[in-house]
């Protein structure tokens, strides 16, 4: 699948870091402003897919190939379940808020909410990238 014209390629290369940074801002401030893990994960996936559409499939596969996307999705899911099991290990219920609650309104507050947001954002972004690769019939296996 070929890329697009020079104008589209230049603009998407210039815009990609800003959209990625905006997505990370929405994820990390999930417990202070509207947003959270799911919304930020979709923004991250949209920025990567914009770059992929502008430059073609071959160069995108050199950066993030299918195996890395599938493994990152499982990693995000493991973070989620691991934090839940941490609650059982420390003696209370599953998914209890065991990390220290800080002051109201700071970034490092609200226990394990920011870590859960980061975990689910990795899962959502990698899942959308895997769906995109699968619909372009790039799955591994018999060639």
């Amino acid at each position: 699948m070929a890329g697009m014209t020079v104008i589209v390629r230049t603009i998407s290369r210039l815009l990609f870091p800003f959209i990625f940074l905006f997505g990370i801002y929405i994820i990390v401030h999930g417990h202070l402003t509207p947003g959270g893990g799911f919304q930020g994960g979709v923004i991250l996936a949209a920025s990567v897919i914009m770059l992929l559409l502008a430059y073609g499939i071959e160069r995108a596969q050199a950066k993030v190939n299918v195996l890395q996307a599938e493994l990152s999705e499982s990693l995000g899911g493991l973070i989620l379940v691991g934090l839940g099991l941490l609650g059982i290990v420390l003696g209370i219920t599953f998914l209890k808020n065991v990390l220290p609650l800080g002051e109201l309104g700071h970034i490092f507050s609200a226990g394990n909410l920011p870590v859960l947001n980061i975990g689910v954002s990795i899962k959502v972004a990698a899942g959308f990238l895997t769906i995109f690769y699968a619909m372009l019939r790039l799955q591994g296996g018999k060639e």
């Binding site: 959270g36 999705e73 859960l116 895997t130 769906i131």
Partner: protein, 99 residues
């Protein structure tokens, strides 16, 4: 002929739905006055609004409901996302292997 019956049915359903949500049967903006059973001025939402900044420590009440009070539902939602990605990958792999 069947299209006229279908159009009539859609219009009847639409009229019934719009009639049911008018101002007398379902007043708009009355969240604190709807109570169930014998709870006097408390509903689940009211109690969460009162307790959440002190108990969870986050300033966003909706995020604390999603991850702290209903965290198990969000874990189930992450499982659904994983299942959907597996289903899509499986469907497209099956088409390719048939060639």
């Amino acid at each position: 002929m069947s299209r006229i019956i279908a159009l009539g049915m859609v219009l009847v359903i639409g009229g019934l739905l719009v009639f049911t949500v008018n101002e007398y049967l379902l007043p708009f903006g009355t969240f604190p006055e709807r109570r169930i059973g014998s709870f006097e001025n408390e509903s689940v939402g009211q109690r969460i609004l009162r307790d959440a900044p002190r108990t969870t420590g986050s300033a966003n009440i909706v995020t604390s409901v999603v991850w702290d009070y209903r965290g198990y539902d969000t874990l189930g939602e992450a499982t659904i996302l994983f299942t959907a990605v597996c289903g899509v990958a499986m469907l497209f792999r099956a088409v390719r292997g048939r060639d």
